[in-house]
Symmetry: none
Subunit: 191 residues, 4 copies
DNA sequence: TATGAATGAGCGTTCATTCAT
DNA sequence: TATGAATGAACGCTCATTCAT
């Protein structure tokens, strides 16, 4: 593949990603249609599939990019002094996940794939999240009777549960935070 | 509405449910087609939609019934002496939920609706599950520093997480059980 | 059938007609659904069909009533001095017919049935229209070289054509009148 | 769009039209089912709707083609010496229009759209009919006191009326012709 | 690599009408 | 007479994905 061809390919790919991003910003992830993406990118339908394995692959990249940006922020904190601090720092990510059912489903679907490398970019991102959380918890002084990995899995379990409950019309955004705080206090500082 | 007419409607409804149940037993939930249901029930397609809002509504009822049956079993136990006993008794339900991605999705979607009456039968069922678990935990002697409701929500969080992980090809059924045991020991008997 | 029963039947019938009329007034003929009629009349679906052969029968009555009222007005004129006068007097009826495609279709469908008695109320009404027009024309002094019946059929042909053209978005209500005037001058006063 | 692709699309379109035509020839327009068309054309259902907006759009094309063929015949005549000749030459088209209620309805619905280009092929065809008739009449020597366009519209009005009446069970095909002859003599040769 | 026509299974809907009670 | 559950044949549509050029 010549240099020019390579550049063209890259440009097309970015056009597709940009078009998809624009749609998501205005209409949400759920509403994204391959048809619209290719039209907005001024590219043929088939071209889409020569750049991305399938629609999910595109979604993973888009969601992965977003989460990566959020993790960049989260990474600035090396440890948590209190549960409140942990919750506070988790909110941007959780708010994103709870912003749309579609995102939550992707997240949940792939969070079971933590240790699997070949699933794609988003799995890497989620793995990064898992490791980051474990590291931060190991630098913090919560309960010491269980492994950091277990501690981390617990935090994730409660986070997911809190987000799931937030999809019920009765639970507002504030609820998510309060609920998670209660959960994590009981989990991280028992007794 | 005359008594006879009422009975007729009920009968048709049961025919529909029975036909759907038969399909699910042999081919799974995912494979259920409205077309097949009405043919097997010897009923017109229009009739289906006068009984159920859409296919999902039927699915909810079917899944709800199945869970109800499992809860009937679970209800025979009034308390758990050990985490192992709790896990052991939870397995039938968890195995069902993890038996098909479709079921898990329905379960997760509706488990956010606890205590909401107007969502339909399955919400009632999930509420029943929540209450049953809380009662059983209150009769058991696990950690006493937090409310029974919180204890119950934690159990559910970990259960869902364990099931979610079980959908990753790497984790087998045995894993689900072991993983949950580890989780719940850390949750129910900290320190 | 007892007197009381008879009265009840009549009352139900009027309830149905009233309910239908209300729907038509607010949503038009096209939008009328048997379902809505029976609900508004607080009557069962089947009852509708014991009062009217089918939905069309109801429509015919409703449209027939409306046309009859218009003919009552038209009847006050015994002859036309000019084409303009004929057109002017025809407009209420033509405006009604052109007010909705549905009405036009019914009108056209049944206007072929002029001499047939057993088609229903509306046929009688259309027959009345035909006779009325013929009488009025015979009292007028338009071309005398052809029979009054033929003269009348021509007027009706042109009227229908003018209404048909009015359904094209390009032709407004005023057009209908102007167009018809040109037609009828050429038809009624040739040479 | 590549030449080959373009040809392929055209070929598919013709397959669809051919399949539909075959059905119509054997069973009539009324009996045409989209399902049957796609099966006979060995094409997916989705393909149908990417070629035609809906079933009606296909019907319009088919009816338009048929009328076009009839107009090709009619075009061979440049003028009419007598009303009988005009009627005689009009019969193929009128017989087609009166052969099925469905066709008449389409014809009537669209004949209001004369001179409107964007309605579709059939409108173009009807426009062609209108122009052809006007030209033929202008070459003939019927009444000269009115414009050729008006003369033509009158012929069409009477034709439509004659066809409409032919749908009444009482009027046979012969009637249509006779009736039209009477109408047109009075219209074209008054006095 | 790019193109875009074609795929295809199934859902939800419509709604006048019938018929057993 | 009144009831209302049941009928049933299409239609339109969805939309990610494939494949021949």
């Amino acid at each position: 593949m010549g240099r020019a061809t390579q550049q063209r390919k890259l440009r097309t790919r970015e056009q597709l990603l940009a078009a998809a991003h624009a749609i998501i910003v205005s209409d949400g992830y759920e509403a994204l249609r391959v048809e619209d993406v290719v039209v907005n990118a001024s590219v043929a339908k088939g071209t889409f599939f020569s750049h991305f394995k399938d629609k999910d692959a595109l979604m993973d990249i888009l969601i992965g990019r977003k989460i990566d940006a959020l993790l960049d922020e989260l990474e600035k904190v090396s440890s948590f002094k209190t549960v409140e601090e942990l919750v506070e720092n988790s909110m941007p990510l959780l708010n994103f996940i709870s912003s749309e059912r579609y995102i939550f489903d992707v997240f949940l679907r792939l969070s079971g794939a933590l240790a699997v490398e070949d699933i794609g970019d988003i799995a890497t991102t989620l793995y990064r999240h898992d490791r980051l959380l474990a590291t931060q918890l190991s630098n913090s002084s919560f309960r010491q009777d269980i492994s950091v990995d277990l501690l981390s899995e617990g935090v994730q379990s409660f986070s997911i549960n809190a987000v799931a409950l937030s999809f019920c019309a009765l639970h507002s955004g504030q609820d998510l935070k309060d609920r998670l705080t209660v959960y994590l206090k009981a989990w991280l500082c028992p007794g």
